[in-house]
């Protein structure tokens, strides 16, 4: 009884592919996106900002006279939904994906995108698969490159002697974490004083901090979700770890963490994915105006939404003739790198088997409940 089911599935895939080819030549350019509008990982700010970019373009006359139709699907952080909505988008006839910010998208749909030959300019890539696919190129640095950059800042610029790492390893990302740590060792010639990849997402954080204390760590990297970072810092404060530099990644670089962690008396640093969103810099101006028009909160994630939509528009503009999945793929693969002041390295899709174009980050420090930029220049890692 298995075989007919497989045939039906294959036929459905074929029909999906055909439907997609047909609708590419309509009046509008359909761009798809998968994000968490409900559930555990809510990324509405990303898609609201991306949507505003496309609306602005449409108001200004569209792309070579054609309007963009931006279709956002909510996957609620649920892998089954992630798979389902990707197929719905392809059925709808989208020619490419932009501004996606789902934490399961790359793992669940990476193979499907390859099979359906569609490209995704992702706003926020968080899993290793986002940086290992020929069809996906995130605009953000991503947690792994960011780990290396933040460690490098601690050892080279803060002068930390005993750098320690505590990581909550998400399924499938252990190799990428080890590579990121190894890359720091290669770049600096230093070894971690302590590395613990067994941190759990639940429970009291004090035992880990006691280990760090015993190992006399003077800089401690931790990669928690936003919800776990406050208990982590509070426990560190309770244990009196005021002379340690706490290094965090982009998910912790938010206003609510700044507010909640203020007054704890700790040295807290975080890596930003882009030009720090809290900086009132010229680089951020166009993005900030877009976020305001979108009536969405200004966050690091929304910068990803803005950049991925902006880059997609730039690439679509270069297409002469019909905008189809094939022509978008070709344009992305042959595009010239785009320099943008919010990024430290030019962004390019290109024809590689994997894509991690963004290799630069700035560092922000928590001061009086506010994030302050402490590295005026981007820390750019040499390409691996």
């Amino acid at each position: 009884m298995r075989r007919p089911a497989a045939l039906v599935a294959a036929a459905a895939v074929a029909a999906t592919a055909l439907a997609g080819c047909d609708s590419g030549g309509g009046d509008t350019i359909k761009i798809g996106s998968i994000a968490g509008l409900t559930g555990n990982f809510v990324t509405t700010d990303v898609v609201e900002t991306a949507k505003q970019v496309f609306e602005d373009v449409n108001e200004a006359g569209g792309i070579n006279g054609r309007q963009v139709e931006y279709i956002v699907k909510d996957d609620a952080g649920n892998p089954q939904r992630t798979a389902q909505v990707a197929r719905e988008l392809l059925d709808d006839g989208v020619v490419a994906m932009a501004g996606s910010a789902s934490f399961t998208d790359c793992d669940v749909n990476g193979g499907f995108y390859q099979q359906a030959q569609i490209s995704s300019v992702m706003a926020i890539g968080a899993s290793p698969k986002c940086f290992q696919s020929p069809n996906i190129a995130p605009v953000n640095v991503g947690p792994f490159t960011l780990m290396t950059a933040v460690l490098q800042y601690a050892s080279e610029q803060l002068g930390a002697q005993r750098v320690c790492n505590f990581t909550v390893v998400l399924p499938g990302s252990e190799d990428a974490v080890n590579q990121a740590l190894g890359r720091w060792s290669e770049l600096t010639g230093k070894e971690l004083a302590l590395s613990d990849l067994s941190v759990q997402q639940s429970g009291d954080m004090t035992p880990y901090l006691l280990r760090a204390k015993q190992a006399r760590c003077d800089a401690v990297l931790f990669n928690p979700t936003e919800q776990l970072v406050i208990p982590w810092l509070q426990a560190a404060s309770t244990q009196g770890m005021t002379d340690v530099d706490f290094l965090l990644l982009a998910p912790s670089y938010t206003d609510s963490v700044a507010e909640a962690a203020s007054g704890l008396g700790l040295n807290v640093y975080a890596g930003s994915e882009f030009e720090p969103y809290t900086a009132e810099s010229e680089a951020n101006q166009a993005w900030r105006e877009t976020v305001q028009r979108a009536d969405s909160p200004a966050t690091a994630f929304s910068q990803g939404g803005y950049l991925s939509a902006t880059f997609m528009v730039e690439v679509l503009k270069t297409i002469e003739g019909e905008v189809t999945r094939e022509s978008v793929n070709q344009a992305l693969r042959e595009m010239e790198p785009i320099e943008h002041p919010m990024l430290g390295t030019p962004w390019v899709f290109g024809d590689g088997e994997s894509h991690a174009p963004n290799q630069a980050s700035k560092i922000v420090q928590l001061e009086d409940g506010q994030w302050k930029v402490v590295t005026p220049e981007f820390i750019t890692l040499p390409r691996g």
Partner: protein, 288 residues
């Protein structure tokens, strides 16, 4: 002496597990339902409290309101149980609470926002004393004291008061109790409301130490059920010991590099050992 430090640190987690485990045991002993949704109910109360504090309410008033929310939500669960499932077996009742648990998580994430953390007020977060290189806060001391209270008060209540006798009758023979004139539905609803408030109090106290999102708080149900299982769903003191032991075990395990990756599994290993030990005199070849 990292192990000793970790063990001391683990007392806090253990106290938290025990507190929640005792709330679950209380519900089970009084209305005979193993309630998988109980930590989620407590989280409703705790998050209501946090939201009100963020609105500028005084802490004591917000805490009272949070306890009220916990009581109300649990009373609703109780209403469903009393109305439609009073004649059903334990298995069915438990299955219903599992369904409620998943609904509550979805609802809680929607209501209390999954995106940004809330900072739970920790009024007693000042160091009480330092023991074995670990700074122990007043919060930890209060958690432990409260866990002790949760373990002793129900025992005294059930054994030595008239209401305790009525409650035992209600849990063990609800229909007989009704026939002899005990107002069963009203009493049961009161029990549901009180255990709901107790869970809310437990979560309010321990929330600040754990990941501060609704889902993580509701997940405390797992170690809490494990603690209740150590107490064989009967004994309050053993549940207290079970919760404390699990917390300490998990904490100490994080210091041993050989097993730290498996520390999440340790509570279940501990439960297996307890179960095998407690059933050691039973005959294993008997038909069920």
């Amino acid at each position: 002496m990292l192990e000793l430090s970790a063990a001391i640190a683990g007392l806090v987690t253990g106290g938290a597990y025990a507190l929640m485990g005792l709330s679950i045991l209380l519900t089970y002993r009084l209305v005979a339902v193993v309630n998988f949704a109980q930590a989620a109910v407590g989280a409703f109360g705790a998050f209501a409290m946090v939201l009100l504090v963020e609105q500028g309410w005084p802490l004591w008033l917000a805490v009272l309101a949070g306890l009220g929310v916990g009581a109300l939500v649990h009373a609703l669960v109780g209403l469903v149980m009393v109305r439609w499932f009073s004649g059903a077996g334990e298995g069915i009742k438990t299955a219903v609470t599992v369904a409620m648990y998943t609904s509550f998580i979805a609802l809680g994430l929607r209501l209390f926002g999954a995106q940004h953390p809330h900072r739970f007020p920790k009024p007693f977060d000042t160091p009480a004393f330092t023991l074995g290189n670990v700074v122990v806060t007043w919060m930890a001391v209060i958690t432990l004291a409260l866990a002790g209270l949760f373990a002793i008060v129900p025992v005294l209540l059930l054994r030595h008061t008239r209401i305790g006798v009525l409650l035992r009758a209600l849990a063990e023979r609800p229909q007989t109790a009704e026939l002899i004139g005990i107002p069963v539905p009203r009493l049961a609803m009161a029990v549901w409301a009180i255990t709901g408030a107790a869970s809310a109090l437990a979560i309010m106290i321990i929330a600040g130490q754990f990941a501060s999102d609704f889902g993580s708080q509701a997940l405390l149900i797992t170690p809490a059920l494990a603690a209740a299982l150590v107490g064989a769903f009967r004994s309050f003191p053993l549940t207290l010991v079970g919760g404390m032991a699990l917390g300490i075990l998990q904490s100490v395990a994080s210091t041993w590099s050989e097993i730290q990756e498996y520390r999440g599994v340790l509570p279940f290993v501990a439960i297996l050992v307890v179960l095998v030990w407690s059933r050691r005199k039973e005959r294993w070849d008997e038909l069920a």
